[in-house]
């Protein structure tokens, strides 16, 4: 017998011995087909294969969009829209009819992206050229239709990478809609500027709350019939959150973003991190001699960190994603968060308005402080790092993919 089967059996028997399962339930579970390998293979699990699928579908869609849109009979907006809808419908039908086929799955993916491109392009042409709509109204309508289509596709197109793209496109369309509506609100321009200035931190917070909820509910997702929605939603929100932080950082001048509200996002994200840390401590409350002291120390640490990092929401977003990724076994989220953490910390020191010499003091000071905290905590908790030397980067765990 495969040792993995034995382990599954062991777990079920252990659950029975601890009265978590009745004898009948345990036997039923063991008799069922869970001991057989899952339908998912290593190829389905690997993130780089998913990336490969996504990139090649994009390249194919670019060729297809260029080809189809330059066909003479697809020149007008309405024809483009209809052609897009037909292709989208064909893609959906193909995906559902040939769910197990890799080739047809890939074809449906590319066809869907082509259909979307034509549909949105044609719709924009109808709004701007045929109906001669004023720009502000047309942009909102277009954003709304993109958002609605992406939300619908998220549920009905059964492909992880396609769903991930839907989350990203829907979020971007939502942002465009919000900005456009705010810009055209019947308010004095100073007030509108204030509102627009407060939008990036609010959006960052919104995506972070979404990220926190989705990842904290990972086990619930996996145990439900919605399990396939978790990965695209969780990673999509992470990408959008980091994207918003990057846009705020680099395009503040171009997009006229008022960065003086960014502290709001930093404080909000720090509070989310504190909330997460409290949950973790509560989880192990019976293993702490003084759980309240542990909570207090964490709150003090976060509060102290907020003093120098009050205006760097990216660092807080990355820290939140890092802790979430570790807690929920999200390998890829952990990797993504580590990269962004390094980037945002680097950018923070780079953009400090002080001399190189003072920056070096700040860096050395931060480094020494972290090492001292580690040393003190190690002494306090009696922790050894012999175990860690086995892992070269961060401790690895198998990731369950949806």
């Amino acid at each position: 017998m495969n040792p993995l089967d034995t382990t599954f059996e062991q777990v079920i028997r252990w659950l029975h011995s601890t009265r978590s399962l009745s004898a009948a339930q345990a036997e039923q579970l063991l008799a069922a087909d869970y001991v057989e390998p899952q339908t998912k293979t290593n190829v389905d699990r690997a993130w780089y294969v998913k990336l490969f699928i996504g990139i090649s579908a994009w390249i194919a869609a670019l060729f297809l969009i260029s080809g189809v849109s330059s066909l003479a009979f697809i020149a007008s907006g309405p024809v483009m829209t209809v052609a897009g809808l037909v292709l989208l419908g064909a893609a959906l039908a193909l995906k559902w009819a040939r769910q197990r086929s890799i080739f047809w799955g890939q074809f449906a993916f590319a066809l869907s992206l082509t259909g979307q491109g034509l549909f949105f392009g044609g719709f924009a042409q109808i709004l701007f050229d045929t109906l001669q709509q004023p720009e502000e109204g047309a942009i909102s309508q277009l954003a709304l239709i993109v958002m609605a289509t992406q939300i619908l596709l998220f549920f009905i197109f059964p492909d992880t990478v396609h769903r991930l793209l839907s989350v990203i496109f829907a979020s971007v369309a939502g942002i465009v809609l919000l900005v456009n509506e705010l810009t055209n609100w019947a308010l004095p321009s100073e007030q509108i500027d204030e509102l627009l200035g407060a939008l990036p931190p609010l959006l960052l917070m919104l995506f972070a709350v979404g990220l926190l909820w989705v990842w904290q509910s990972r086990t619930k997702f996996f145990a439900s019939r919605w399990h396939e929605l978790h990965a695209p939603l969780g990673y999509g929100l992470a990408i959008v959150m980091f994207g918003t932080a990057l846009v705020t950082l680099f395009f503040d001048d171009m997009l006229d973003i008022n960065t003086r509200f960014l502290w709001l996002a930093s404080v909000g994200l720090a509070l989310l991190l504190a909330h997460l840390a409290m949950q973790v401590i509560d989880e192990f409350a019976n293993q702490f001699t003084q759980p309240r002291l542990a909570k207090f120390s964490v709150l003090i640490a976060i509060g102290l960190l907020l003093i120098p990092l009050y205006n760097t929401a990216g660092v807080w977003a990355a820290l939140l994603a890092l802790v979430l990724g570790f807690r929920q076994n999200g390998h890829l989220l952990l990797g993504l968060a580590t990269l962004f953490l390094l980037f945002f910390i680097g950018f923070y020191y780079y953009s400090l308005d002080i001399t190189l010499l003072n920056k070096s003091y700040a860096l050395i000071g931060s480094g020494v402080l972290l090492l001292l905290v580690r040393f003190t905590a190690g002494r306090f908790l009696g922790h050894s790092d012999h175990e860690m030397a086995r892992h070269d980067i961060l401790p690895n765990r198998g990731e369950v993919s949806a």
Binding site: L4, T6, T7, F8, Q10, V11, R13, W14, L15, T18, S20, L21, Q25, L29, Q38, T41, N42, V43, Y48, V49, F52, I53, S56, A60, S66, G67, S70, F103, A110, T219, A223, S224, Q287, F326, N329, I345, L356, K359, S360, L363, I364, S366, G367, V368, L369, L370, R374, A377, D385, H386, M388, A389, H391, D392, I393, N396, R397, G398, E399, V400
Partner: protein, 350 residues
């Protein structure tokens, strides 16, 4: 059989949590029982896992900030500080970090990180030397010397991040050598990519040979995968360049080097499929090889269509369909190879 299952490493049994989730989805396993099972099999993080995570994070981040600070400090080139003081400070840093590594021991993560800090400070020492003596030497010499001086530590450190630093330094040295001695003209482009390819492929080969001795620290596949990716990228580019030049009226191909890179590319792809498809089973390497092949195929097709003046809508649609077909074929092949591995591993365990 015991009733109490031991905490299993989820890496060894990736299917186990999935099977539990699958059981929960059908309603056979209630949510509280699922949570207990996940905790018991080590899927849910324990307090010890958290301690290790925070400890590791603080160590890596602390060391990184500290070394960056030292780099910034000497980059400032503070004139008030006498050069002997500068040399003394860096040398004290190197001796201190190496001494700490010795004191902590290289079987501990903190010891390995200390050794890496010492290796990085060697670069600072060479930079300070260059600042003061203004030797006029090319900067590739600094990186070459840096790599040579730390090679001993790299060998005894048995630490992937330190190897990463070393291999990155070798790459920078090779690139700067060509840039500063020969320039990156068409000939130089072929030569530099050949050298970078040989360097990374050579390291990868050595790594795979050494890995056969089953060393714990080499278990993680991140570094060999990065080396493989770099090697494949730097050899794919000149071949794509050659393809784009063929048929172009402004072609400037160095025939000998074009053939050499094409042969190296063919040998690499073959080696990847043999080594990672049959001997070492690495899906990442196979995936990037497929991606590279498709990229070259698309480049060739675009070139053919352009040369034949076929750039109308039908040609574009055909190109799109070809990309879909090739990607589908590649994934199908990956799936078959992966299935054959699973069949083989099941055959050996029963």
């Amino acid at each position: 059989m015991t009733n109490q299952p031991t905490r299993v490493d989820s890496n060894a049994a990736p299917d186990l949590p999935e099977r539990l989730f699958s059981a929960a989805r059908t309603g056979g396993l209630a949510f509280p029982a699922l949570q207990r099972a996940l905790r018991q099999v080590g899927y849910t993080r324990s307090l010890a896992d958290w301690a290790t995570f925070l400890n590791t994070l603080q160590l890596y981040l602390g060391a990184l900030l500290l070394v960056s600070g030292v780099f910034f400090f000497f980059a400032y080139n503070w004139s008030d500080l006498h050069h002997f003081a500068k040399f003394g400070l860096v040398q004290a840093g190197i001796v201190g970090a190496a001494g700490l590594a010795h004191y902590l021991g290289l079987d501990k993560l903190s010891g390995k990180v200390s050794l890496t800090v010492a290796a990085l400070l060697v670069g600072v020492l060479l930079a300070v030397y260059g600042q003061f003596y203004q030797t006029g030497a090319d900067s590739y010499l600094l990186f070459l010397l840096w790599s040579l001086l730390i090679v001993g530590w790299v060998l005894i450190g048995k630490f992937q991040p330190l190897w990463f630093v070393f291999i990155a330094l070798c790459n920078v040295t090779a690139f700067l050598f060509f840039e500063q001695t020969q320039g990156l003209s068409d000939d130089g482009f072929y030569q530099v990519t050949e050298l970078l390819f040989l360097l990374n492929a050579g390291f990868l080969l050595l790594w795979e040979i050494a890995r056969r001795r089953t060393m714990d620290w080499m278990e993680n596949r991140s570094l060999p995968n990065v080396m493989g990716l770099v090697a494949l990228v730097v050899i794919t580019f000149p071949v794509a360049f050659t393809i784009m030049q063929i048929g172009s009226q402004y072609a400037s191909i160095d025939g000998a080097h074009a053939i050499i890179t094409a042969l190296l590319y063919a040998a690499t792809i073959t080696a990847i499929f043999i080594i990672y498809g049959r001997i070492k089973h690495d899906l990442f390497m196979l995936t990037i090889a497929m991606f590279s092949l498709i990229a070259l195929f698309i480049t060739a097709m675009i070139q053919v269509l352009e040369t034949a003046n076929l750039d109308g809508p039908i040609a574009l649609i055909v190109m799109g369909l070809v990309v879909v077909g090739l990607a589908g074929l590649a994934i199908n092949l990956l799936q078959r190879i992966s299935n054959s591995w699973e069949t083989t591993s099941r055959g050996t365990t029963t």
